[in-house]
Protein backbone atom coordinates (compact mmCIF):
# COMPACT_ATOMS: atom_id res chain seq x y z
CA UNK A 1 0.00 0.00 0.00
CA UNK A 2 1.38 3.39 -1.01
CA UNK A 3 1.38 6.30 1.40
CA UNK A 4 0.11 9.72 0.52
CA UNK A 5 0.56 13.00 2.32
CA UNK A 6 -2.25 15.50 2.73
CA UNK A 7 -1.58 19.07 3.79
CA UNK A 8 -4.18 21.48 5.06
CA UNK A 9 -4.21 24.99 6.49
CA UNK A 10 -5.39 26.31 9.84
CA UNK A 11 -6.26 29.80 11.00
CA UNK A 12 -4.27 30.88 14.03
CA UNK A 13 -7.34 32.60 15.52
CA UNK A 14 -10.41 30.63 14.57
CA UNK A 15 -8.67 27.23 14.71
CA UNK A 16 -6.73 27.92 17.86
CA UNK A 17 -8.33 24.98 19.64
CA UNK A 18 -7.25 22.59 16.89
CA UNK A 19 -3.74 24.00 16.85
CA UNK A 20 -3.54 23.57 20.59
CA UNK A 21 -4.66 19.97 20.29
CA UNK A 22 -2.20 19.26 17.47
CA UNK A 23 0.68 20.81 19.36
CA UNK A 24 -0.14 18.63 22.32
CA UNK A 25 0.24 15.45 20.32
CA UNK A 26 3.47 13.46 20.63
CA UNK A 27 5.78 14.00 17.64
CA UNK A 28 5.54 10.34 16.77
CA UNK A 29 1.92 9.32 16.36
CA UNK A 30 0.41 12.56 15.15
CA UNK A 31 -0.84 11.05 11.91
CA UNK A 32 -2.41 8.17 13.78
CA UNK A 33 -4.23 10.57 16.12
CA UNK A 34 -5.51 12.71 13.23
CA UNK A 35 -6.66 9.62 11.33
CA UNK A 36 -8.53 8.41 14.39
CA UNK A 37 -10.17 11.81 14.88
CA UNK A 38 -11.28 12.00 11.24
CA UNK A 39 -12.55 8.43 11.28
CA UNK A 40 -14.38 9.09 14.52
CA UNK A 41 -16.07 12.09 12.93
CA UNK A 42 -17.11 10.04 9.90
CA UNK A 43 -18.73 7.41 12.10
CA UNK A 44 -20.24 9.87 14.59
CA UNK A 45 -17.67 8.76 17.08
CA UNK A 46 -19.91 6.05 18.57
CA UNK A 47 -19.00 2.44 18.00
CA UNK A 48 -20.83 -0.72 18.94
CA UNK A 49 -18.08 -1.21 21.48
CA UNK A 50 -18.95 2.13 23.08
CA UNK A 51 -22.63 1.17 23.32
CA UNK A 52 -21.74 -2.20 24.82
CA UNK A 53 -19.46 -0.51 27.32
CA UNK A 54 -22.25 1.90 28.32
CA UNK A 55 -24.71 -0.96 28.75
CA UNK A 56 -22.24 -2.87 30.93
CA UNK A 57 -21.75 0.22 33.06
CA UNK A 58 -25.53 0.69 33.40
CA UNK A 59 -25.96 -2.95 34.35
CA UNK A 60 -23.20 -2.66 36.93
CA UNK A 61 -24.94 0.36 38.48
CA UNK A 62 -28.35 -1.35 38.53
CA UNK A 63 -26.89 -4.46 40.16
CA UNK A 64 -25.29 -2.21 42.75
CA UNK A 65 -28.76 -0.86 43.59
CA UNK A 66 -28.62 2.50 41.87
CA UNK A 67 -31.88 4.26 41.00
CA UNK A 68 -31.86 5.30 37.37
CA UNK A 69 -34.08 8.22 36.47
CA UNK A 70 -35.53 8.23 32.97
CA UNK A 71 -34.73 11.91 32.66
CA UNK A 72 -36.75 13.73 30.04
CA UNK A 73 -39.17 10.87 29.66
CA UNK A 74 -40.62 11.04 33.15
CA UNK A 75 -42.73 14.08 32.52
CA UNK A 76 -41.87 15.41 35.95
CA UNK A 77 -40.73 18.70 34.43
CA UNK A 78 -44.02 19.38 32.66
CA UNK A 79 -46.97 20.87 34.49
CA UNK A 80 -50.13 19.20 33.24
CA UNK A 81 -53.57 20.68 33.95
CA UNK A 82 -54.86 18.26 36.60
CA UNK A 83 -58.43 17.90 35.38
CA UNK A 84 -57.45 17.49 31.75
CA UNK A 85 -54.78 14.94 32.72
CA UNK A 86 -57.31 13.01 34.80
CA UNK A 87 -59.82 13.03 31.94
CA UNK A 88 -57.14 11.80 29.60
CA UNK A 89 -56.05 9.01 31.91
CA UNK A 90 -59.65 7.76 32.09
CA UNK A 91 -60.17 7.92 28.35
CA UNK A 92 -61.32 4.59 26.99
CA UNK A 93 -61.75 2.94 30.37
Amino acid sequence: MAKTTVTFSLDTDTDRDLLHWLEGLPRRGRSEAIRAALRGHLTSGVTLGDVYQELRELRRKLEAGAVVMAGEGTGSDIEEPADAAAALDNLGL
Binding site: E72, G75, P81, A84, A85, L88, D89, L91, G92
Partner: protein, 327 residues
Protein backbone atom coordinates in the same frame (compact mmCIF):
# COMPACT_ATOMS: atom_id res chain seq x y z
CA UNK B 1 -43.76 -2.07 22.33
CA UNK B 2 -46.46 0.58 22.33
CA UNK B 3 -48.56 0.89 19.22
CA UNK B 4 -51.28 3.09 17.81
CA UNK B 5 -53.38 1.16 15.33
CA UNK B 6 -56.07 2.79 13.22
CA UNK B 7 -57.97 0.21 11.20
CA UNK B 8 -60.26 2.17 8.93
CA UNK B 9 -62.64 1.06 6.21
CA UNK B 10 -60.20 2.44 3.68
CA UNK B 11 -56.75 1.80 5.09
CA UNK B 12 -54.85 0.51 8.09
CA UNK B 13 -52.43 2.97 9.69
CA UNK B 14 -50.11 1.88 12.47
CA UNK B 15 -47.37 3.63 14.40
CA UNK B 16 -44.84 2.41 16.95
CA UNK B 17 -42.07 4.89 17.63
CA UNK B 18 -40.40 5.89 14.41
CA UNK B 19 -42.01 3.02 12.57
CA UNK B 20 -45.20 3.87 10.70
CA UNK B 21 -47.00 1.70 8.19
CA UNK B 22 -50.11 1.87 6.08
CA UNK B 23 -51.81 -0.51 3.71
CA UNK B 24 -55.30 -0.78 2.18
CA UNK B 25 -57.90 -2.48 4.40
CA UNK B 26 -58.21 -5.30 1.94
CA UNK B 27 -57.85 -9.04 2.47
CA UNK B 28 -57.47 -11.14 -0.66
CA UNK B 29 -58.70 -14.62 -1.26
CA UNK B 30 -55.97 -17.24 -1.57
CA UNK B 31 -54.21 -17.05 -4.92
CA UNK B 32 -51.18 -19.18 -4.24
CA UNK B 33 -49.97 -19.47 -7.82
CA UNK B 34 -50.22 -15.77 -8.37
CA UNK B 35 -48.19 -14.97 -5.27
CA UNK B 36 -45.17 -16.92 -6.39
CA UNK B 37 -45.29 -15.86 -10.02
CA UNK B 38 -45.05 -12.21 -9.21
CA UNK B 39 -41.42 -11.23 -8.93
CA UNK B 40 -42.01 -7.77 -7.51
CA UNK B 41 -44.07 -8.93 -4.55
CA UNK B 42 -41.14 -8.91 -2.16
CA UNK B 43 -43.09 -6.93 0.40
CA UNK B 44 -46.44 -8.66 0.02
CA UNK B 45 -48.15 -9.32 3.32
CA UNK B 46 -49.05 -12.99 3.13
CA UNK B 47 -50.53 -14.43 6.31
CA UNK B 48 -50.71 -18.18 6.71
CA UNK B 49 -53.49 -19.66 8.81
CA UNK B 50 -53.04 -22.77 10.94
CA UNK B 51 -54.63 -24.92 8.20
CA UNK B 52 -52.07 -23.65 5.68
CA UNK B 53 -54.46 -21.31 3.90
CA UNK B 54 -52.76 -18.12 2.80
CA UNK B 55 -54.27 -14.66 2.75
CA UNK B 56 -52.91 -11.69 0.92
CA UNK B 57 -53.37 -8.42 2.79
CA UNK B 58 -53.11 -4.81 1.71
CA UNK B 59 -51.69 -3.52 -1.55
CA UNK B 60 -50.85 -7.01 -2.74
CA UNK B 61 -54.48 -8.04 -2.38
CA UNK B 62 -55.61 -4.98 -4.34
CA UNK B 63 -53.20 -5.75 -7.17
CA UNK B 64 -53.16 -9.53 -7.28
CA UNK B 65 -56.16 -11.23 -5.70
CA UNK B 66 -59.06 -12.20 -7.91
CA UNK B 67 -61.51 -11.64 -5.08
CA UNK B 68 -61.06 -9.24 -2.23
CA UNK B 69 -62.89 -8.68 1.03
CA UNK B 70 -63.58 -5.10 1.99
CA UNK B 71 -66.43 -4.51 4.40
CA UNK B 72 -68.12 -1.36 5.57
CA UNK B 73 -70.45 -2.48 8.33
CA UNK B 74 -70.47 -2.31 12.08
CA UNK B 75 -69.95 -6.07 12.54
CA UNK B 76 -66.70 -5.78 10.61
CA UNK B 77 -64.69 -5.54 13.83
CA UNK B 78 -65.78 -9.08 14.74
CA UNK B 79 -64.85 -10.57 11.38
CA UNK B 80 -61.84 -12.71 10.48
CA UNK B 81 -60.89 -10.10 7.90
CA UNK B 82 -60.55 -7.49 10.64
CA UNK B 83 -58.41 -9.87 12.69
CA UNK B 84 -56.14 -10.43 9.71
CA UNK B 85 -55.73 -6.70 9.22
CA UNK B 86 -54.82 -6.38 12.89
CA UNK B 87 -52.25 -9.20 12.67
CA UNK B 88 -50.84 -7.76 9.46
CA UNK B 89 -50.41 -4.40 11.22
CA UNK B 90 -48.57 -6.03 14.14
CA UNK B 91 -46.23 -7.89 11.83
CA UNK B 92 -45.58 -4.79 9.73
CA UNK B 93 -44.51 -2.88 12.82
CA UNK B 94 -41.86 -5.36 13.92
CA UNK B 95 -40.14 -8.60 12.97
CA UNK B 96 -39.42 -9.52 16.59
CA UNK B 97 -40.36 -13.08 17.50
CA UNK B 98 -42.06 -12.31 20.81
CA UNK B 99 -43.56 -8.89 21.45
CA UNK B 100 -45.41 -7.51 24.45
CA UNK B 101 -47.76 -4.75 23.36
CA UNK B 102 -49.74 -1.85 24.72
CA UNK B 103 -52.22 -0.88 22.03
CA UNK B 104 -54.48 2.11 21.56
CA UNK B 105 -57.04 1.99 18.80
CA UNK B 106 -60.30 3.70 17.94
CA UNK B 107 -63.91 3.31 16.89
CA UNK B 108 -66.33 5.64 15.11
CA UNK B 109 -68.20 7.74 17.66
CA UNK B 110 -71.54 6.16 16.71
CA UNK B 111 -70.36 2.68 17.69
CA UNK B 112 -67.95 3.59 20.44
CA UNK B 113 -70.02 2.98 23.57
CA UNK B 114 -71.54 -0.26 22.34
CA UNK B 115 -68.52 -1.82 20.69
CA UNK B 116 -65.47 -0.69 22.62
CA UNK B 117 -65.52 -3.78 24.88
CA UNK B 118 -65.77 -6.13 21.91
CA UNK B 119 -62.91 -4.47 20.13
CA UNK B 120 -60.73 -4.36 23.24
CA UNK B 121 -61.32 -8.07 23.79
CA UNK B 122 -60.35 -8.88 20.23
CA UNK B 123 -57.03 -7.07 20.68
CA UNK B 124 -56.17 -8.33 24.16
CA UNK B 125 -54.35 -11.62 24.62
CA UNK B 126 -51.89 -13.62 22.57
CA UNK B 127 -51.83 -13.63 18.80
CA UNK B 128 -49.56 -15.87 16.79
CA UNK B 129 -48.75 -14.58 13.32
CA UNK B 130 -47.17 -16.60 10.57
CA UNK B 131 -46.10 -14.71 7.49
CA UNK B 132 -44.73 -16.36 4.43
CA UNK B 133 -40.93 -16.30 4.34
CA UNK B 134 -40.69 -15.12 7.94
CA UNK B 135 -40.34 -16.83 11.26
CA UNK B 136 -43.48 -17.12 13.35
CA UNK B 137 -44.22 -14.21 15.70
CA UNK B 138 -46.07 -14.09 19.01
CA UNK B 139 -47.77 -10.83 19.99
CA UNK B 140 -48.96 -10.48 23.58
CA UNK B 141 -51.31 -7.54 23.94
CA UNK B 142 -51.27 -6.84 27.66
CA UNK B 143 -53.15 -3.54 27.62
CA UNK B 144 -55.54 -2.06 25.12
CA UNK B 145 -57.53 1.15 25.13
CA UNK B 146 -60.26 1.89 22.63
CA UNK B 147 -61.09 5.56 22.24
CA UNK B 148 -63.38 7.55 19.91
CA UNK B 149 -61.50 7.79 16.62
CA UNK B 150 -61.33 11.59 16.32
CA UNK B 151 -59.63 11.83 19.71
CA UNK B 152 -56.54 10.50 17.97
CA UNK B 153 -56.09 13.66 15.91
CA UNK B 154 -56.48 15.85 18.99
CA UNK B 155 -54.01 13.78 21.00
CA UNK B 156 -51.52 13.88 18.13
CA UNK B 157 -51.36 17.62 18.70
CA UNK B 158 -51.87 17.84 22.46
CA UNK B 159 -49.33 15.18 23.50
CA UNK B 160 -45.63 14.72 22.86
CA UNK B 161 -43.89 11.46 22.04
CA UNK B 162 -43.82 10.54 25.74
CA UNK B 163 -47.56 11.03 26.04
CA UNK B 164 -47.23 14.21 28.08
CA UNK B 165 -49.64 17.10 27.62
CA UNK B 166 -47.63 19.75 25.85
CA UNK B 167 -50.29 21.88 24.18
CA UNK B 168 -52.03 23.55 27.08
CA UNK B 169 -54.39 25.52 24.83
CA UNK B 170 -55.78 22.39 23.19
CA UNK B 171 -55.82 20.47 26.47
CA UNK B 172 -57.71 23.12 28.39
CA UNK B 173 -59.94 24.53 25.69
CA UNK B 174 -63.04 23.55 23.76
CA UNK B 175 -62.09 21.95 20.46
CA UNK B 176 -64.11 20.48 17.62
CA UNK B 177 -62.76 17.68 15.50
CA UNK B 178 -64.10 16.67 12.08
CA UNK B 179 -62.71 13.26 11.20
CA UNK B 180 -63.51 12.45 7.57
CA UNK B 181 -63.24 8.70 7.12
CA UNK B 182 -64.03 6.36 4.27
CA UNK B 183 -67.62 5.69 5.21
CA UNK B 184 -68.46 8.08 8.03
CA UNK B 185 -67.51 11.53 9.17
CA UNK B 186 -67.22 11.84 12.92
CA UNK B 187 -67.81 15.11 14.71
CA UNK B 188 -66.37 15.24 18.20
CA UNK B 189 -66.49 18.05 20.70
CA UNK B 190 -63.96 18.01 23.52
CA UNK B 191 -63.53 20.33 26.47
CA UNK B 192 -60.52 19.95 28.74
CA UNK B 193 -59.92 16.57 27.10
CA UNK B 194 -63.39 15.33 28.04
CA UNK B 195 -65.87 14.44 25.36
CA UNK B 196 -69.03 16.55 25.25
CA UNK B 197 -71.45 13.79 24.30
CA UNK B 198 -74.31 16.05 23.30
CA UNK B 199 -72.05 17.80 20.80
CA UNK B 200 -70.72 14.63 19.25
CA UNK B 201 -72.23 12.87 16.26
CA UNK B 202 -71.53 10.79 13.22
CA UNK B 203 -72.62 11.67 9.69
CA UNK B 204 -72.97 8.91 7.13
CA UNK B 205 -70.81 10.46 4.50
CA UNK B 206 -67.21 9.71 3.69
CA UNK B 207 -64.59 9.64 1.03
CA UNK B 208 -65.86 6.36 -0.41
CA UNK B 209 -69.07 8.12 -1.37
CA UNK B 210 -67.08 10.26 -3.75
CA UNK B 211 -65.12 7.24 -4.94
CA UNK B 212 -68.38 5.46 -5.76
CA UNK B 213 -69.74 8.48 -7.63
CA UNK B 214 -66.53 8.69 -9.62
CA UNK B 215 -66.60 4.93 -10.20
CA UNK B 216 -70.13 5.19 -11.63
CA UNK B 217 -69.08 8.07 -13.84
CA UNK B 218 -66.08 6.11 -15.10
CA UNK B 219 -68.30 3.12 -15.92
CA UNK B 220 -70.34 5.34 -18.19
CA UNK B 221 -67.55 7.42 -19.67
CA UNK B 222 -64.56 5.09 -19.66
CA UNK B 223 -66.25 1.68 -19.96
CA UNK B 224 -63.06 -0.27 -20.61
CA UNK B 225 -61.43 0.95 -17.46
CA UNK B 226 -61.62 -1.80 -14.86
CA UNK B 227 -60.52 -0.22 -11.61
CA UNK B 228 -60.70 -1.61 -8.10
CA UNK B 229 -62.12 0.60 -5.33
CA UNK B 230 -58.72 1.69 -4.08
CA UNK B 231 -57.59 2.53 -7.59
CA UNK B 232 -60.67 4.70 -8.04
CA UNK B 233 -59.85 6.40 -4.73
CA UNK B 234 -56.35 7.11 -6.01
CA UNK B 235 -57.97 8.73 -9.03
CA UNK B 236 -60.18 10.84 -6.76
CA UNK B 237 -57.17 12.09 -4.83
CA UNK B 238 -55.19 12.81 -8.00
CA UNK B 239 -58.33 14.08 -9.76
CA UNK B 240 -57.42 12.25 -12.92
CA UNK B 241 -57.04 8.81 -14.44
CA UNK B 242 -55.36 7.52 -17.53
CA UNK B 243 -57.52 5.99 -20.28
CA UNK B 244 -55.88 4.56 -23.40
CA UNK B 245 -53.00 6.94 -22.84
CA UNK B 246 -55.20 10.02 -22.44
CA UNK B 247 -55.58 11.89 -19.15
CA UNK B 248 -59.19 12.06 -18.01
CA UNK B 249 -59.93 15.07 -15.78
CA UNK B 250 -62.00 13.96 -12.79
CA UNK B 251 -62.05 17.41 -11.15
CA UNK B 252 -65.63 18.36 -12.08
CA UNK B 253 -67.17 15.04 -11.04
CA UNK B 254 -65.15 15.02 -7.78
CA UNK B 255 -66.34 18.55 -6.93
CA UNK B 256 -69.90 17.68 -7.87
CA UNK B 257 -69.81 14.80 -5.38
CA UNK B 258 -67.98 16.66 -2.61
CA UNK B 259 -70.18 19.76 -2.42
CA UNK B 260 -73.35 18.07 -1.08
CA UNK B 261 -71.21 15.98 1.31
CA UNK B 262 -69.51 19.07 2.63
CA UNK B 263 -72.83 20.85 3.05
CA UNK B 264 -74.16 17.94 5.10
CA UNK B 265 -71.11 17.88 7.36
CA UNK B 266 -71.06 21.65 7.79
CA UNK B 267 -74.79 21.75 8.58
CA UNK B 268 -74.36 19.08 11.25
CA UNK B 269 -71.30 20.78 12.75
CA UNK B 270 -73.01 24.17 12.78
CA UNK B 271 -76.02 22.73 14.56
CA UNK B 272 -74.04 20.63 17.05
CA UNK B 273 -71.54 23.32 17.92
CA UNK B 274 -73.93 26.23 17.96
CA UNK B 275 -72.18 27.93 15.09
CA UNK B 276 -68.74 26.87 16.29
CA UNK B 277 -67.59 30.39 17.20
CA UNK B 278 -66.89 29.51 20.84
CA UNK B 279 -64.55 26.66 19.95
CA UNK B 280 -60.85 27.37 20.24
CA UNK B 281 -60.17 25.43 17.05
CA UNK B 282 -61.73 22.98 14.64
CA UNK B 283 -59.37 20.24 13.54
CA UNK B 284 -60.03 18.38 10.30
CA UNK B 285 -58.46 14.93 10.09
CA UNK B 286 -58.83 11.56 8.39
CA UNK B 287 -58.25 10.22 4.92
CA UNK B 288 -60.89 12.53 3.45
CA UNK B 289 -59.62 15.67 5.20
CA UNK B 290 -57.83 16.96 2.15
CA UNK B 291 -61.03 16.52 0.11
CA UNK B 292 -63.49 18.16 2.53
CA UNK B 293 -61.06 20.43 4.38
CA UNK B 294 -61.28 23.39 1.98
CA UNK B 295 -65.08 23.45 2.22
CA UNK B 296 -64.99 23.31 6.03
CA UNK B 297 -62.40 26.08 6.18
CA UNK B 298 -64.64 28.30 4.06
CA UNK B 299 -67.38 28.01 6.68
CA UNK B 300 -65.25 27.97 9.84
CA UNK B 301 -62.27 30.29 9.64
CA UNK B 302 -60.62 28.70 12.68
CA UNK B 303 -60.71 25.25 11.08
CA UNK B 304 -57.55 23.71 9.77
CA UNK B 305 -56.51 20.39 8.35
CA UNK B 306 -54.09 18.75 10.75
CA UNK B 307 -50.60 17.90 9.60
CA UNK B 308 -50.48 14.50 7.91
CA UNK B 309 -54.24 13.94 8.37
CA UNK B 310 -54.17 10.30 7.27
CA UNK B 311 -51.82 9.34 10.09
CA UNK B 312 -53.08 11.81 12.70
CA UNK B 313 -55.35 9.38 14.53
CA UNK B 314 -52.73 6.63 14.62
CA UNK B 315 -50.13 9.11 15.87
CA UNK B 316 -52.43 10.27 18.66
CA UNK B 317 -53.18 6.66 19.57
CA UNK B 318 -49.47 5.88 19.78
CA UNK B 319 -48.72 8.93 21.92
CA UNK B 320 -51.56 7.93 24.23
CA UNK B 321 -50.18 4.38 24.36
CA UNK B 322 -46.85 5.85 25.41
CA UNK B 323 -48.62 7.60 28.28
CA UNK B 324 -50.53 4.50 29.38
CA UNK B 325 -47.39 2.38 29.33
CA UNK B 326 -45.69 4.82 31.73
CA UNK B 327 -48.42 4.46 34.33
Amino acid sequence: MNAGIDIGYSAVKAIAGQRRVTFPSVVGTPERARFSLNGDGAHDIILEAVDGTAYLVGEGAVMQSRQVIRREDRAWIESEAYQRLMLAAFSELTRAKVVSLTVVTGLPVAYFTRDKGTLRDSFLGEHRVTRRDRHSQLFKVTDCRVIPQPFGALLSLALDDQGRIVDQALATGAVGIVDVGGKTTNLLSVNRLSEIARETASVDVGAWQTARAVGDWLSDNCPDLQLRDHQVMAGVIEREVSYYGDTVDLGPIVDQSLEPMAEQVIAQATQLWNGGASLKAILVSGGGALLLGPYIQQRFRHAHVVSDPVYANALGYWRFAQRIARQ
